[in-house]
């Protein structure tokens, strides 16, 4: 399979890339890791006339704590998260997620920015970002703006990134003492999209939950916050009955569609099981 013909640019600065985006408008796509875009181009689901390859722009690839945030550059490869000491030590939720994204070769190319900017509810990082209440930095000609993750996903392949803009950074408020997070997706085999995926981030104080974020993968048209489930737990002493209730709400509030991975009823059941397990795992890690 060969993509339709296109022209190709390799800007060496962000400003150059933004100027090219302005010049080519709707006809251009940004090429980062390319492991969602190139398959779509080979299948002719996408036929951009111009590719703007941002891989040669320095300074878009980093993982650092700065000013109360964990900051991750948009061009950071999945493998860099997997290999990062900081991520291993303080943010194991990302290790859970990255090791389930595709396979090692794809993780050598795929970027966290692309995973989010693609706007696919089947991708894994969006649910993690919902759980962590991340902020997305989007840069355009007039400068950078920050969008809360809850206002980022508009619909199927549609996000807050507007024509002429590039997603440049993900900012995560550094969780306080007593915090823990975990992610798991049920997949049929390595490289598959989630049958269902669940990300949970908690902060515990003497058995009470002072922060909770729950994000769901691939059980809605967009990545979904399990808001009613969070409401059950936040501010309360955590009991098995409350966790059961939260899991039940998540199963009721998601909107999975039947496909080769299972029917709706099965997927709701799996959401319930995963929400319970991942809440327990996140609380264990908060200790």
């Amino acid at each position: 399979m060969i993509p339709a013909a296109f022209d190709y640019s390799t800007p060496s600065t962000l400003n150059e890339a933004l100027a090219l985006l302005k010049q080519y408008g709707d006809e251009a796509k940004i090429l980062a890791g390319g492991h969602s875009l190139i398959p779509m181009m080979k299948l002719r689901f996408a036929s951009p006339q111009h590719l703007i390859d941002i891989n040669n722009i320095p300074g878009l690839s980093y993982i650092k704590e700065d000013g109360g945030f964990l900051k991750i550059g948009a061009l950071t490869r999945e493998v860099m998260l997997e290999d990062s000491d900081l991520i291993h030590k303080k943010y194991p939720i990302f290790i859970d997620a990255t090791k389930l994204i595709a396979d090692p070769q794809v993780r050598n190319m795929g970027t966290i920015g692309g995973n989010i900017a693609h706007g696919d509810a089947a991708n894994d990082h969006p649910a993690v970002m919902l759980a962590l209440r991340a902020e997305v930095v989007i840069t355009g000609e007039s400068g950078a703006r920050t969008v809360p993750i809850d206002e980022f996903f508009f619909g199927f392949y549609s996000t807050a990134v507007q024509p002429g803009e590039i997603l440049t950074e993900i900012k995560i408020p550094i969780p306080g003492k007593g915090s823990g997070g975990a992610y798991h997706k049920l997949e049929r085999k390595v490289g598959d999209y989630a049958t269902a995926g669940v990300a949970v981030q908690v902060t515990m104080d003497k058995g009470s939950c002072t922060y909770i974020g729950i994000g769901l993968t691939n059980v809605n048209a967009t990545p979904l916050r399990a808001a009613r489930s969070e409401g059950v737990l936040k501010g309360n002493k955590i009991t098995d009955a409350l966790i059961e209730q939260a899991a039940q709400f998540a199963a009721e509030d998601c909107n999975p569609s039947a496909d080769l991975r299972g029917d709706e009823e099965y997927k709701r059941a799996m959401v319930k099981v995963l929400v319970k397990r991942i809440i327990h795992k996140a609380i264990d890690r908060a200790k």
Binding site: M1, I2, P3, A4, A5, F6, D7, Y8, T10, L31, G34, H35, I38, P39, M41, K42, L51, D53, N55, V79, K99, A102, D103, P104, Q105, V106, N108, M109, V190, G191
Partner: protein, 167 residues
């Protein structure tokens, strides 16, 4: 719209003019005539097209040739040296780790990076490490033995007396 690119394939510098839509695997096989790199699924699932790009294992069916501009490409043809086979090639040979051989170049190129990052992997780490490469003949057991054999040889240890499974 054609672009001039320069790549170093297995140590040899090549300059070519290519269409931006040319895939890296086609550059390697058709423009540079190195057919050891295979095209399997053509959808970045099977790993048969795995090569090293600046030392990192990647699926060359999902990368554009123009993205390799200025980079080093290593394919299976670049593994053996004048002194003989690469330890992985020897490991695959000694452990009966291939039947039809279609997945073998991709498996070995993936295992090169795996052993470089983790010179003494456990069986589980090897299985995770090659999880992006499909083999439809061997059932993987002998491939795991081959990678363990190569790891031992590269660490300069006594070679494991393995018992490959023959079917």
């Amino acid at each position: 719209m054609e672009k001039e690119i320069t790549v170093t394939l297995n140590g040899e510098e090549k300059t070519l003019t290519v269409e931006p839509r040319l895939l890296l695997v086609h550059l390697i096989r058709e423009n540079l005539n190195q057919t050891g790199t295979h095209i399997g699924c053509d959808t970045s699932n099977c790993g048969a097209c795995t090569v090293l790009l600046d030392g990192k294992s990647v699926k060359s069916c999902t990368i554009l040739a123009v993205q390799a501009n200025g980079k080093k490409i290593t394919t299976v043809e670049g593994l053996a040296t004048a002194e003989g086979l690469h330890p992985l090639q020897e490991g695959f040979k000694e452990n009966h780790a291939l039947h039809c051989g279609f997945c073998t170049p991709g498996m070995m190129m993936r295992a090169v990076e795996l052993l470089e990052k983790n010179p003494n992997p456990t069986e589980e780490e090897i299985r995770w490490g090659i999880s992006g490469n499909l083999c439809r003949c061997t059932g993987y057991n002998n491939i795991v033995l081959a990678v363990q054999y190569a790891g031992a040889k590269m660490r300069g240890e006594k070679l494991p007396s393995t018992e490959p499974i023959f079917v």
